[in-house]
Subunit: 243 residues, 2 copies
C-alpha cells in the first residue's frame, strides 16, 4: 500500500501575521485526499528567499510532489521564484515564452513589474492549459501555485489528473460515549486491524454525538471488516449512527 | 526593534487528510500579532511521535515560544506528549498532581484512558488558571494546547499576558490600480523606509478596490510618515480609501 506523498509550502507574511486565513492548504488537502495522494506536511513561512530555499531543499527530497502557494505576483514581496531557484542552486531567468506572451498581451504598456511575472528558475517547465490565462510553472517535482484562492483552484483543477491514484475507502461511526469510554475498544480494533487508519474526533456541545470515529484504508474490504469488528467491540448502545 | 518570535506546530492526520480545517493556527496567528509576537512558522505534521520529536527539536531552538495544537486526548492517536518528550530526550511520566486531580474527579470510574491524560514529559510545568478545568502543560518554551478549538482558545486566553509586548501600528491603503501599476511606487517607498513592513494583497472581483496595501511597524510615527510618502508616490487617483 505505497502511495504518492506530498507537501504544501505556504509562502506569505499575511498568513503568519493573521491578516489572511490560508484557505489554500485546506483546499489542496481535501483534493489530494480524493486523489489518493498522502499529504505529509504543510509548512507556512515568511516572504524570505533564504527561508523558502531551505524549505524547498527539505521538502522536495522528502516527498513525491511539492505544491507552493503564494508569492508569485509582480511586487517586492513576491520572492517565491527566487527562493525556489536558490533552493535548487539555479539562476532565475526570464522565460522567453512567458516574456513573449506578456509583451504580446500588453504591447507598449509593458513595464518591469509585468516582466517580473516572466521570471522562473532556470529549467522550469510551463504547463499550458486552455482553461488558464497564464501557464502553471513546474520545476522538478515542485508546482508553483499563486496565493489568490480562485486562481490556485483553477490551476490545481487543470493539474490534478497527473496525481490521480487509488482512492481511500472510508466508514464513519458516531458514538454517544466520550473517548475515555471507548479507548480500549479502539485499541483492540487496531490490534486486529493494524493497517487501519483510525481517527477519533471528539465534539463538544453536539446534541447528537460525542465522538466521531473514521476508519480508512485503500482496501475497501479491509475497512468493512474493521468497521464490523469495531461496532461489535464498542460498549452496548454506543453507536448513534454510521456512514 | 527586536521582538519575541513564535512557531506553531499543528499535530493531526485529520488536518493533512482534509477532513478538518485547522482554525487554531489562524486564531493563534491573529492573537500573537495583537500581542506583538512575530509568528515565524506554522508546521502541520501527522500523529507520529518521531515526526513530532524532530519538529520540536527544530522549532524550540529557533523561536522564543512554541505552541502545539492537537494530539493530547486519551486515545491511541494522541501522541503529542510522547513526541515532545522524545524531542527533548526525556521520559513520559504520569504527573502526580494531574493523576490526583483525575482520580479525585472520577473516583472508582477511572480507567487507563483517563490516566493517559495525566502523562507529560518529565519536568513539565502545570499552568493553573481558575478559568480552566484542566491545567495547561508547559515544557521549556513549549506550550501544549489541545486540538478542540473552544478549549484551545480558552487556554490561550489564560496564557496570553505572558507573551505581551509592544503592539504593531498599521495603516491600510486600498487602491484601484493593479499591482503592476504600483510596483515601482512600492519599491521607492521601501527604499526610503527600509524598516517598513509593506504588504500588497490583490483582490479579484471586488467592486471597490484591486489591491490592499498594509503598512506596519512597531514605531507609529514611522508608519505614518511612510504612509504619507506612499500616498504621494502612488499614481494620481489610485487611492480609493485608507484606514
Amino acid at each position: 500500500m505505497t502511495e504518492p506523498t506530498a507537501a504544501i509550502l505556504v509562502i506569505g507574511n499575511e498568513i503568519l501575521s493573521g491578516k489572511v486565513v490560508d484557505t489554500n492548504s485546506p483546499f489542496l488537502a481535501a483534493e489530494l485526499r480524493k486523489l489518493g495522494v498522502a499529504l505529509r506536511r504543510i509548512l507556512t513561512v515568511p516572504d524570505e528567499p533564504e527561508t523558502i530555499a531551505m524549505a524547498i531543499q527539505d521538502l522536495r527530497g522528502s516527498y513525491d510532489h511539492v505544491f507552493t502557494s503564494g508569492g508569485v505576483g509582480p511586487t517586492h514581496d513576491d520572492v517565491t521564484m527566487e527562493g525556489i531557484a536558490l533552493g535548487l542552486g539555479r539562476r532565475v531567468i526570464r522565460h522567453p515564452d512567458l516574456e513573449a506572451g506578456i509583451r504580446g498581451y500588453l504591447g507598449e504598456k509593458v513595464n518591469d513589474a509585468h516582466l517580473k511575472m516572466a521570471e522562473v528558475p532556470e529549467g522550469a517547465t510551463l504547463i499550458q492549459d486552455p482553461s488558464l490565462n497564464f501557464p502553471t510553472i513546474q520545476v522538478e517535482n515542485i508546482y508553483v501555485l499563486p496565493g489568490i484562492p480562485e486562481i490556485l483552484r483553477k490551476k490545481f483543477e487543470s493539474l490534478k489528473e497527473r496525481f490521480s491514484d487509488a482512492p481511500y475507502y472510508v466508514r464513519v461511526i458516531y458514538t454517544c460515549c466520550n473517548e475515555s469510554a471507548i479507548a480500549s475498544s479502539l485499541h483492540r480494533a487496531l490490534e486486529e486491524f493494524p493497517a487501519l487508519m483510525l481517527g477519533s474526533y471528539p465534539k463538544l456541545d453536539d446534541p447528537e454525538y460525542r465522538v466521531k470515529l473514521t476508519l480508512e484504508s485503500k482496501d475497501g474490504d479491509y475497512v468493512q471488516r474493521a468497521f464490523d469488528r469495531l461496532v461489535a467491540l464498542l460498549p452496548m448502545g454506543a453507536v448513534v449512527r454510521t456512514e
